[in-house]
């Protein structure tokens, strides 16, 4: 009996601790979303209250949509993120396949070379990256961001994907070879479909830092036409510091896509982490 009671107590305490921390984690997000739907007075008078019919207002969102070109920013972020992820997955999977499938001289060295970027942040090369982009005439183009993010995402993608590709059965690939499939067909038609779960994990890991990055948009593409959501929100907030409705609405708009994607992909992300993809 005594042990049963202590274990109830223990479970209760664990729940209490986890609930408290969950509240700490979610409270700021909740506060932002809730207050973005309230009138200016209500935001200040009762910041913690849920909007009621009398305090409900969309004036912040109206300001945001009128003043900032948020649709354009979303489009830029989306293009950059999607194209970068596609390139990281394609190039990363190809390189991972070459490294895990074939034995050739320099294989290990090439693997180490490509893995360097996991530990050394690409940001340290910013001075020369900017110089190169200026020389290539790519400043203020989305191409510049896509190139940088592709390079940034490749090392981890290659590392994770080659671990997974080692688990694809050799017999299957050899059967394909006997049937006369070319090496390219083996890669695209046999191996790629089998590592799809790993690709999804890599896609999620690659997406978060790209969508949220502020450094490279600030440096490489500060122009109005090429601003990303993160940079656009930052600039917008800077201009409208005192307009709390607008600021909170801009923040909510920036949170929303990430939350939606997270809800869709969270299983994949957590399965990827717990299955040892990043260990």
């Amino acid at each position: 009996m005594a042990t049963a009671r202590t274990s109830y107590l223990r479970t209760g305490l664990i729940h209490l601790a986890l609930i408290s921390y969950t509240l700490i984690a979610l409270f700021p997000v909740f506060l932002t979303l809730v207050n973005s739907f309230k009138t200016r007075n209500a935001i200040f008078r009762e910041p913690m209250a849920i909007p009621t019919p009398s305090t409900f207002s969309l004036v912040g969102y109206e300001t945001v949509l009128k003043q900032g070109d948020f649709i354009g920013y979303f489009q830029n972020s989306l293009i950059v993120t999607v194209v970068s992820i596609a390139l990281v997955l394609l190039f990363g999977a190809m390189a991972a396949f070459a490294l895990s499938e074939y034995r050739f001289r320099g294989n290990l060295l090439m693997g180490l070379y490509l893995a360097l970027g996991i530990m050394i942040p690409i940001r340290l090369g910013t001075v020369a990256i900017l110089q190169g982009m200026v020389a290539a005439g790519l400043v203020n183009t989305l191409t510049a961001l896509v190139l940088v993010y592709t390079a940034q995402g490749l090392p981890l993608a290659i590392f994770i994907l080659s671990e997974f590709m080692r688990t694809v059965s050799d017999d299957l690939k050899n059967a394909g070879r006997i049937d006369g499939l070319s090496e390219y067909a083996i890669f695209f038609r046999l191996v790629l479909p089998l590592v799809r779960p790993a690709m999804a994990t890599v896609a999620v890991f690659t997406m978060i830092p790209i969508w949220n990055d502020l450094w490279f948009p600030l440096i490489l593409v500060p122009g109005e036409a090429t601003k990303t959501v993160t940079l656009g929100a930052q600039m917008f907030i800077g201009q409208f510091v005192t307009n709390w409705n607008a600021v909170l609405s801009a923040l909510s708009l920036a949170i929303l896509p990430v939350l939606v994607l997270y809800v869709i992909f969270s299983r994949q992300l957590i399965r990827g982490i717990t299955s040892g993809a990043v260990k």
Partner: protein, 315 residues
């Protein structure tokens, strides 16, 4: 792309040329080399050059000597470095223990709602710095009164201060905001490591009467040490290359009075200039090189000293 372009593939291959290997490797190799490795090397090289009469000339280590001896520059450099160290220490002391504790609680078997807790606690990690920085700025602002209001509930209103605006507390506050954001990463990695401990090991421990608290300290903790090593080095690299959160919370000047200035913000101001300070490419490259050396030293220490001494258990 010919064979000669790629030193690794140029070596004589016994079988007939296997071009497909080259085709598979080339795109990743080219993009990675051109956008990441070459600029990094170029940045390191630029730190040895400076402008003189509009011409870029080789100056050896003169930039580094200036960085360490010029009274204004060296003061801001040492200030940024020591702030960065404090930033890192706070992460190691708060973020990683809290992450480990959360993971340990989540991994208790048959815990209900574990998936929900895990999903919710990871949310801040996904948010961009712009959002995180601004939300916390609003919450901690004395104007809105969320933080003082909540402290009033628990009778602590007297303890409230505009922490972000005071030079003696701003750095700690910003570090804690960053901890709040990133605690999900150690939590997830440690959680995964805890799940990978085989049940037989834990059952054997239970047979020997080691349960609960002592089981965590005596059995689980030693087994997850390699993962703790990994999160430490990830924290180190992340912290010494941080920029965004400080920039969004305190601006490029990392105020008040430079009290939250870290190497990332110093690099940004030095390279691009800010307000009446002119941008300086060579000095920017010099600071980037110093950051590179610091990160390289940390990673090498981890790879060659810590990781080798750590025992890995294979199940």
């Amino acid at each position: 792309m010919t064979e000669a372009d790629n030193p690794f593939e140029a070596a004589p291959i016994k079988r007939p040329a296997r071009w497909h290997i080259l085709v598979f490797l080339a795109p990743a190799f080219l993009v990675y080399t051109a956008i990441m490795i070459l600029p990094l090397i170029e940045t390191l090289r630029l730190s040895l050059y400076n402008l003189a009469d509009g011409q870029t000339v080789f100056v050896g280590l003169a930039n580094f000597i200036t960085l360490f001896s010029d009274p204004r520059l060296s003061a801001s450099f040492w200030n940024a470095l020591s702030n960065n160290l404090i930033f890192f220490v706070i992460h190691m002391l708060v973020q990683n223990p809290v992450g480990i504790a959360l993971a340990a609680m989540l991994s208790v078997s048959k815990l209900r709602f574990a998936t929900f807790y895990r999903t919710a606690i990871f949310v801040p990690t996904l948010l961009s710095f712009v959002i995180v920085g601004f939300i916390w700025k609003l919450i901690l602002s004395p104007i809105w009164g969320i933080a003082p209001g909540m402290m009033d509930w628990v009778g602590l209103k007297w303890a409230f201060a505009p922490w972000l605006g005071r030079a003696d507390s701003a750095l700690i506050t910003v570090s804690l905001i960053s901890v709040w954001q990133y605690v999900g990463i150690p939590m997830m990695l440690i959680y995964a490591a805890l799940l990978n401990i085989p049940d037989e090991v834990l059952e054997a421990a239970e047979c020997d009467g080691i349960t609960g608290w002592s089981q965590f300290w005596k059995i689980k903790l030693p087994l997850i040490l390699p993962s703790i090593g990994i999160i430490s080095i990830l924290t180190f690299v992340g912290n010494f290359n941080a920029f965004d959160l400080i920039y969004t919370v305190q601006g490029a000047l990392a105020g008040p009075d430079g009290s939250t200035d870290i190497l990332g913000t110093l690099l940004y101001r030095t390279f691009f200039g800010f307000q009446n300070q002119m941008g300086d490419r060579s000095m920017g490259a010099t600071i980037a090189t110093v950051m590179f050396l610091i990160i390289l030293a940390g990673v090498s220490l981890y790879l060659f000293v810590i990781q080798r001494r750590m025992r890995r258990y294979q199940f």
